[in-house]
Amino acid sequence: MAWQRKLLRVDLTAGTCRAEPLNMEWALKYIGQRGLATKYLCEEIDPKVDALSPGNKMIMATGPLTGTMAATGGRYSVITKSPFTGAIACSNSGGFIGAEMKAAGWDMVIFEGKSPKPVYLLLENDNAQLLSAEGLWGKSVWETDDIIHTTHQDPLLRVACVGRSAEEGCLYAGVVNDKHRAAGRSGVGTVMASKNLKAVAIRGTLGVGGVRDFKAFMNAAAVGKKVLKDNAVTGIGLPTMGTQVLMNVINEVGAMPTRNMREVQFEGAAKISAEAMHEPRESDGKPNLVTNAACFGCTIACGRISTIDPQHYTISNKPEYRGASGGLEYEAAWALGCDTGVDDLDALTYANFLCNEDGFDPISFGSTVAAAMELFDIGAITTKDTGGIEMRFGSAEALTKAAELVATGVGFGKDLGLGSKRLTAKYGHPDLSMTVKGQEFPAYDPRGIQGMGLTYATSNRGACHLRSYTVSSEIMGVPVKTDPLSTEGKPELVKAFQDATAAVDSTGLCVFTTFAWTLADIAPQVDAACEGGWTPETMLEAGERIWNLERQFNLDAGLTAADDTLPKRLLKDAAKTGPAKGQVNRLHEMLPQYYEIRGWTADGRPTADTLKRLDV
């Protein structure tokens, strides 16, 4: 089995690190990564625990295919209880550190307790040490990464760390690895900082062996790679345009949440699209996009590497931002752009750089700025509250100033760092928070894509597109085309996507493969790598088991069916333009049926029979 069969348990309170055998019985039921770490978390913490207390744990987990030659096999996830939503958090990241952890001989690292002083974990194969991070506290992600490399004189170390936003209590801070890949959502970085854990630096030279059947694995991996190459989305669209290929598409179907979801189409979309990123700019004749880039083992390579116009107001006096770094992905371009009404590509790229540099989620950040702009628009906040910033929709200056303040947690940045739910509640307009379970929406308006309404309402980590991306079916026709304006069949569709995605997220593979792959392409790779006799059916069942386990955690944490809902705006205010004009999201037509096909009670609790059937 492509496991190391070993986890590292780091007790930050006591300052100890010890190895433990991986629970292989659980691995056979929960696959790995998201599923397996969720099982550990559920067994080891009280779901009611204060997420920022030492009683919470934080798990960095790989899947069985992480570190192997399977295409995209480099993913890892951070699993913990979220301080942002109060629900389970599971944030997935690419880059290189997941594969490095695996190559160092570890499937998982569990952090528990709280260090009395700032520390970082140095993990070199079997040698695990907690070192003082007092010199790193107060440094950005980028500085921390550089300092750790210099200190240990090892350019091959891979580093994951938190930035200043997490230290300052921003509730949607992420864990950033390899400088610009992130376990970005739900405040997993806030939990890490609360434990006084600044960074994890890993060097692995043991490699990943133990594949059950190498020949079958190499064959299955090669077949999978060919499918990715031959598919229009994974073979051409994503490498050429990145996820930003969606900007114009989603705008045209009228599902582009605009100005805090007041509207569903953004007139400036073309100016911040993938196509715009390819256009040479006036100042130096270079386009925003330098190149596409891959995460570990990825044959798609959707990543964007960008530069900011050196003459742009944001960096004309800041030469340190003139180098290339992680550029705009679609969700970030949407949140920083469409949702705030800002159509300045360089301002968005700069804000995105800051999100990476200091480790905060561009989706929640952009949407929170959008909510602040609406509060400003209706007069609920003024420049007295914002520290002088004119928070107007469309203001690039307001956006980039806000990013600078959240990055360092100063002034109005403290308010913005709480997220839109707490921000709008503080200023008396909770209805203006575009969130589910306190987490901001991503870039698909559920009035124009009905299935996404159910997706958001029932997502176990709050509003999220990565729990069941029915856009794939409703807009792109993968695997089958469904009508985005109809609720017919959507409960079944959402359940199928949720279960399959939970399985994929547990393997070490990237969910973007599923534009081309189904579980029929993935199961042979997992099966050749691992014992367990994995088939598409058993993987789907494992996915359903994982989904129910996450749900059970949330219910035990105190969430209820009342949390499976959408903001009033999406249920009451009809879309004003485009193909979805006149539509609201008809969640009420989908939710009861969803509970039923899940085998849950009418108040959204898994029945005893369901838990027994799935052996949760």
Binding site: A103, G209, G323
Partner: protein
């Protein structure tokens, strides 16, 4: 016909499939740290570059070796390390101007690219064509073609 690895950095995405393929071919595990080809990430420039042994004609490593453990493979032209002869003195790692011969502490020997005996795994694994295995006397053919294309009259 002698063939050579052709590396085209502008096509590289930094995915490391080549490093995994190399380590799997030579070590039997997926282990980039043991790869004989390395991909470098020039972060601030936003560029990636694969790099490995170019199989010098007058190979400095071969001439430096005091025990004649590095020999020319007559089939591929590669400079192969004979593990049974290598004593791990590392002189070749100092002699190589390009840094492409390296010591492996696990085996006590040095390791370098041997073109996998004529079917380099890195080239087969590269998803973007950044690493290809081509006629050693015409590694510039594609670049020549690109420039030639500029010289033809526009339709």
């Amino acid at each position: 016909m002698l063939k050579a690895l052709q590396l085209e950095p502008e096509k590289c995405t930094g995915c490391l499939q080549c490093e995994m393929a190399c380590s799997f071919e030579n070590e039997g595990v997926f282990n980039p740290s043991k790869s004989r080809i390395k991909v470098f990430n020039f972060h601030d420039e936003g560029r990636f570059a694969p790099y490995t042994c170019s199989q010098c004609a007058e190979a400095w490593c071969m001439h430096a070796c005091p025990v004649e453990a590095i020999v020319i493979n007559p089939k591929t032209g590669a400079k192969d390390v004979l593990e049974s002869v290598c004593v791990g003195c590392k002189v070749c790692t100092i002699a190589c101007p390009f840094g492409t011969v390296n010591y492996n502490a696990d085996t006590g020997k040095v390791a370098k690219c041997d073109l996998c005996g004529g079917d380099p795994a890195c080239a087969s694994a590269c998803p973007t064509g950044a690493i290809t295995y081509v006629d050693a006397e015409h590694t510039g053919l594609e670049r020549m073609r690109a420039h030639a294309a500029q010289s033809i009259p526009k339709a």
